[in-house]
């Protein structure tokens, strides 16, 4: 019986096995890298807003404290975006004719809320609480990045679970003294780990517990 396949088929067969395996590996690699890339996580991508609000201008240039607008950040799970009334407490006096602020004035006049686009959007099964973080020495820009440098706000961190766990496993890497929480100029000292461990103890943070599922999921 004559040979069915030509001898070159051997090479072809080997090649296709190797290529197949390579394809499989590379597709997994591509997929996993892609899912972590800013293309998917939207890290660093400014989000359009009805009013082009600049944190850089308000925070860095004017020196307004975070809590002036995000007034419930120390009390509640949500930091809260300010009501129109807060905007108008200044903008009834300054920039009263700016066309950029037209939506704010309209909202105030008509009593219709401004619909801001969410930049930091967690899945619904994650229950994040701002108040406990700022009360235990996690600074605003640990998660929100150089917010004082942002003209249009963008997401500074991927908000993936591994990113959350990085800190929940080792809070000493990021914790800072409570009085520095709202200080956007704060730089971690050289002995961060040493200081961090001291603070974790001082603030009575039970590290082991921070990785319990029900701390965030319930």
């Amino acid at each position: 019986m004559p040979q069915v396949f030509h001898r070159s088929s051997n090479t072809l067969a080997r090649l296709s096995i190797v290529t197949g395996a390579a394809l499989l590996v590379s597709s997994v690699l591509i997929a996993s890298n892609l899912s972590r890339s800013p293309y998917v996580t939207q890290v660093g991508a400014p989000v359009d807003q009805p009013v082009p609000f600049s944190h850089k201008h308000h925070v860095k240039e004017l020196g307004i404290d975070c809590r002036y607008c995000h007034s419930t950040v120390e009390k509640s799970a949500v930091a809260s975006v300010p009501p129109t009334h807060t905007c108008m407490s200044c903008h009834s006096q300054v920039w009263t004719n700016s066309p950029l602020l037209e939506p704010v004035r309209l909202s105030y006049l008509n009593g219709t809320p401004i619909q801001w686009n969410k930049v930091y959007d967690l899945p619904d099964f994650v229950y994040f609480d701002h108040s406990i973080h700022v009360n235990k020495g996690i600074g605003c820009n640990t998660c929100h990045g150089p917010i004082h440098e942002m003209n249009i706000t963008y997401k500074a961190q991927p908000l993936s679970m591994s990113w959350c766990l990085d800190c929940h496993r080792q809070p000493e890497k990021y914790i800072r003294p409570k009085e520095e929480v709202f200080n956007y100029e704060y730089k971690a000292p050289a002995n961060q780990l040493e200081l961090g461990e001291k603070l974790v103890k001082e603030y009575n943070i039970k590290k082991e517990q921070l990785t319990d599922c029900s701390i965030c999921h319930r």
Partner: protein, 1027 residues
């Protein structure tokens, strides 16, 4: 499972098996004793019917094809861009609102005209959960407080705000608020209309009636205790002097009122002080579950029943009853008698106490009971209570007044006050009067404010027909109600009523204390309250806030009114409005005379009408939570059934099959005075022979999507002169069978001793051996003990105190966004309640003792569910919680299969998928809404633990005992459920764990459950024991 193979229950065989058993043996149901093949199957399989709901219609190949297609298409869903979500802040932030923090407001839940105090939780303006108001007399406090999360949850003086207990109706009332079937617009003759048109029509009719001084005007209300509404009605009657105000409530207190009139010559209101009573005799009175004071009474009753190592005294409860009730299930002695026999029993008791009634000749056994009870009562003069159920003839009520007076209880455990109702009338009589006027054509305009008389009026009144005829004669008939129901259908106008959480009002509690009904939300639909409608009839246009506030500013005086008003709203009660006790004297001759004139029962069966334990008189028929709530004792859902005793069932040849998850039962025809009704039967251990019970509230024809067309309408057999009991009833087999979805078989545990009970005497003698233990001390473990210096959450449930009222189950449902699944799914064992109350019987078939055991997730320290999960979706927390991580769960259900306690629930379908946006407002934002294919179970209310822990951590202190309360614990009227940190030796839960009668469920399996029990202690009278 093939239905054809099922066998009918062989009651003889069951009886034989029960009589052979030795020692205290607990049994869950007839099916268990019958021990059929189907029952075994339920025990062995976690999901006996786990095949697809499409199973019967889908072939294997079709199924594979569909699976392939959906798998291929599933990939496409990832192509959808993530939608941009919005943040919508308010324009003006109200001062007290902190986004993300709930607020609590005091209000009052009206039912049958009586108030139960509530504190309602509100998330950014939407009410989500009802708690009891501890300051209200009807809902006394549990032992915990609102978590100190924010100053708004504290009292103005900075003290913590206490939570009170609740009942199922209070909990479920929040679902009615968001019911998509609520009516949303005025209707004129079944067509959409508008408020403008209605206002014009009302004004025209009032002008017309004004000309004849209201001669053709009739107003029919439910029971009214509201001072404001009563004042408005009086004003209306002054303006239209010929008009008449009628009141009708299907579950009314006519017999009590008439009984008081016989005994005292005037209607008085009776208030019991069970917290002062050592011996209680209930004659058909379900005081722990029914009635406006039930939560208070359950609380007071339980306060004398807490048996601990160092307090070994408890009260004693005798119950003589014609239907197994919640109260009967906790009795130390229970005697099932027919209603007529209960009445005779009362007469005999009166005679034995030396009041000259002609005592009947009782059978030996009953005489023994009378003697024993009389001796016990006389030994506790001034410290006992005799109470009688509403169903009995006024003469029996009068007898009981005489008994209490003779026993020196008046002023001690039994208090009399002026009537609570604004205008105490005989409801059946009031309705009959209206019917008479309607028949004679005297009525031109009839305004029905609330209620549903076309459905629930007695059959002989023919109310629905008369109302329809009046409407057809172009009479001005108006029905104000939450739903467009049976009555709306035969009225000219239907106008939507505002829910109690949407409008202002006031109302009295069982003892007369006034509460202001404070709304939590703007009306969801343009609607009116009864106050506004009556005000409009008077030609005004005030809203209910102005009406109620104006009335109270007159009552409370203008000086400092704003301050007083604010305090009233905060506290939820108007101070010092409880009615003062009155001194009244029993007129013995009148009582004796009335007792002699009691009607004799006719031959044949006796039929008892009982308000349904969940849908009550039918008003909650469209409330899915209540429909799916397993009824206490029968554990039936989504239906009512004719309860028959095993003997009567045998005599009449009625069958109930051996049951799988659902039961097929015989349908019977009940005949009474020419009326007929078809009803499924339910064989009920503990039901007296020759007495059948049917609950009201079913067979609705226009209730809504949930409640229409289920069950049978007992009102069809109810007559004005026999509202509660009917004698001479015939029951014949109809030759049909009907499936009933009972949950008693579901989630059965198979093990050794699941329940422990004993007598107080045994406890006093040897508390250490009160519980027959399989193991002593800790069992060894292969693993080292877990070291943790923080909280160790645990729960102890005192089975002596559990009355099986289901408040915990409903509270859990409300707190944790638990869906309802419908009758078919319940029949497949797929109900989602995280808690169940297991019922155990002990003793013979005809009058067993009932025991109750609430079962939640045990949060085992060595949890069998955890190692079998392939994806780590259920793991332990440091504080000892067996956590369920929904976003990890892939739905293998291995955990549930491996759970010995059967407490895990699986979302077989997308149950929690409200198509109606309004239902989404109901959800608790602190708890994930679970999707299809996900396992879930009790979380120990982890959202409450986290909130309290965060609050304490921010204050830099440790959590204190009582700061974390689970939803079930808060709701429990008897405080049978205690939750806390067992690592804190001072905590209540740790103290209970140290009690000698403390035990864990299946503790011999070494799962080390965190939820444990106190064995049930009973206090039987030695004289009646061992008969």
């Amino acid at each position: 499972m093939d239905k054809k193979q099922r066998q009918p229950l062989d009651l003889e065989e069951i009886r034989r098996r029960l009589s052979q058993a030795r020692g205290p043996q607990y049994w869950r149901s007839l099916e268990e004793i019958a021990d059929s093949e189907e029952f075994q199957q339920i025990l062995e399989k976690e999901f006996p019917r786990q095949s697809s709901p499409l199973g019967a219609f889908l072939h294997r190949r079709q199924f594979l094809r569909l699976m392939g297609a959906s798998l291929a298409l599933a990939g496409l869903t990832s192509c959808r861009p993530l939608s941009q979500r919005k943040i919508v802040p308010q324009v003006q932030q109200p001062e007290e609102v902190i986004p993300g923090k709930p607020l609590y407001y005091a209000s009052a839940f009206p039912m049958g005209g009586y108030a139960r105090g509530v504190l309602v939780e509100s998330h950014e303006g939407r009410p989500t959960k009802v708690e009891g108001n501890a300051r209200h007399p009807a809902t006394p406090g549990a032992n915990g407080v609102l978590s100190m999360q924010s100053p708004t949850q504290m009292n103005p003086d900075g003290t913590p705000r206490h939570l009170g207990a609740t009942d199922v109706f209070m909990q479920a009332s929040i679902l009615t608020l968001y019911d998509p079937d609520r009516s949303q617009s005025p209707m004129y003759q079944g067509q959409l209309s508008s408020w403008t048109e209605f206002n014009a029509a009302l004004a025209a009719e009032m002008a017309k009636q004004g000309a004849v001084r209201g001669a053709g005007l009739r107003i029919l209300t439910e029971n009214v205790t509201s001072p404001t509404l009563a004042a408005l009605m009086e004003e209306l009657l002054k303006k239209f002097p010929q008009a008449k105000w009628h009141q009708y409530e299907p579950v009314n207190f006519d017999n009590s009122r008439e009984g008081a009139k016989v005994a005292f010559g005037e209607p008085v209101n009776t208030v019991y002080r069970f917290d002062r009573a050592d011996v209680i005799l209930s004659l058909d009175s379900d005081f722990l579950y029914s009635g406006p004071a039930s939560v208070r009474y359950a609380h007071d009753f339980a306060s004398r029943r807490r048996v601990r190592k160092d307090t070994t005294s408890m009260n004693r409860l005798y119950v003589v009853e014609s239907t197994p009730t919640v109260t009967g299930s906790v009795a130390d002695h229970r005697l099932p008698l027919r209603p007529s026999q209960v009445a005779q029993f009362a007469v005999a008791l009166t005679g034995a106490l030396g009041i000259p009634v002609s005592a009947p000749d009782l059978p030996q056994e009953q005489r023994r009971w009378v003697n024993a009870i009389v001796r016990d009562l006389q030994a506790h003069r001034g410290r006992c209570v005799v109470t009688v159920g509403e169903m009995h003839h006024p003469a029996v009520h009068a007898l009981v007044h005489a008994i209490n007076e003779r026993l020196g209880n008046v002023g001690q455990t039994v208090l009399y006050t002026a009537p609570v109702e604004a205008r105490p009338v005989n409801h059946a009589g009031s309705l009959a009067e209206l019917v008479q006027d309607m028949t004679e054509g005297k009525v031109e305009a009839l305004l029905i404010l609330g209620g549903n008389p076309a459905y629930n009026a007695p059959a002989d009144t023919q109310f629905a027909r008369l109302l329809k005829e009046l409407t057809q004669r172009n009479g001005f008939t108006v029905h104000l109600s939450l739903y467009e129901d049976e009555t709306s259908a035969v009225c000219q106008w239907h106008i939507p009523e505002a829910h109690y959480l949407e409008s202002w009002g006031d109302i009295r509690a069982f003892d007369g204390t006034v509460s202001i009904i404070q709304p939590l939300i703007e009306p969801l639909y343009p609607s009116r309250s009864a106050y506004e409608l009556v005000d409009a009839m008077l030609g005004r246009q005030r809203n209910s806030y102005d009406i109620v506030r104006a009335y109270w500013s007159r009552r409370l005086g203008n000086a400092n009114f704003t301050k007083t008003w604010r305090k009233v709203l905060h506290d939820g009660v108007v101070a010092n409005t409880a009615l003062p006790p009155r001194t009244v004297k029993v007129r013995t001759e009148a009582v004796v005379g009335a007792a002699g004139n009691m009607p004799r029962p006719a031959e044949g069966l006796e039929l008892v009408f009982a308000p349904d334990p969940t849908v009550w008189d039918g008003r909650f028929a469209n409330n899915g939570w209540l429909q799916e709530l397993p009824k206490p004792l029968t554990h039936l859902t989504w239906d009512n059934a004719l309860l028959v005793s095993p003997n009567t069932a045998q005599k009449l040849g009625m069958r109930m099959d051996t049951g799988g998850l659902a039961n097929m039962v015989d349908v019977v025809e009940v005949r009474y005075r020419g009326e007929k009704l078809r009803a499924p039967i339910w064989i009920m251990p503990g039901q007296p022979d020759d007495c059948v019970t049917l609950s009201l509230g079913y067979g609705r024809t226009r209730a809504g999507k949930v409640g229409t067309g289920i069950g049978c309408n007992a009102y069809a057999l109810r007559f004005s002169d026999a509202l509660w009991t009917a004698s001479g009833v015939q029951v014949v087999k109809a030759g049909e069978r009907y499936p009933l979805a009972g949950t008693q078989q579901h989630h059965s545990m198979q093990g050794r001793k699941l329940f422990h009970s004993g007598t107080l005497e045994e406890f006093r003698k040897d508390p250490e051996h009160f519980v027959e233990r399989e193991i002593h001390g800790e069992l060894p473990s292969m693993y080292p003990d877990f070291q943790w210096d923080g909280q160790r959450w645990a729960m102890v449930i005192d089975t002596s105190l559990c009355i099986g009222c289901n408040a915990c189950v409903t509270a859990c449902q409300a707190e944790n966004n638990i869906p309802i699944v419908g009758k078919e799914q319940v029949a497949s064992g797929r109900e989602m309640h995280w808690m169940r109350i297991d019922r155990y019987y002990e003793g013979g078939l005809d009058n067993p003792d009932t025991h109750l055991q609430p079962v939640t997730c045990m949060h085992c320290e060595k949890a069998p569910c955890e190692p079998v999960c392939p994806v780590g979706a259920t793991v332990h927390s440091h504080e000892g919680l067996n956590q369920m991580v929904y976003n990890r769960c892939v739905g293998t259900r291995y955990c549930s299969n491996n759970c010995p306690y059967k407490v895990r629930r699986f979302n077989f379908l997308k149950y929690n998928d409200p198509k109606e946006p309004v239902l989404q407002l109901l959800n608790n934002p602190d708890v994930t809404v679970r999707g299809r294919g996900v396992m879930e179970k009790c979380s120990y209310c982890v959202q409450r633990i986290n909130a309290a822990r965060i609050a304490a951590k921010k204050l830099g202190r440790e959590l204190q005992d009582g700061e974390v309360m689970t939803a079930c614990q808060t709701a429990c009227p008897t405080q049978a459920i205690v939750f806390g940190d067992m690592a804190d030796a001072g905590s209540l839960v740790a103290q209970l764990k140290a009690q000698p009668h403390h035990y864990g469920l299946l503790e011999e399996w070494n799962t080390r459950p965190r939820t444990t029990y106190l064995a049930k202690v009973r206090n039987p009278n030695p004289e009646l024991e061992g008969a």
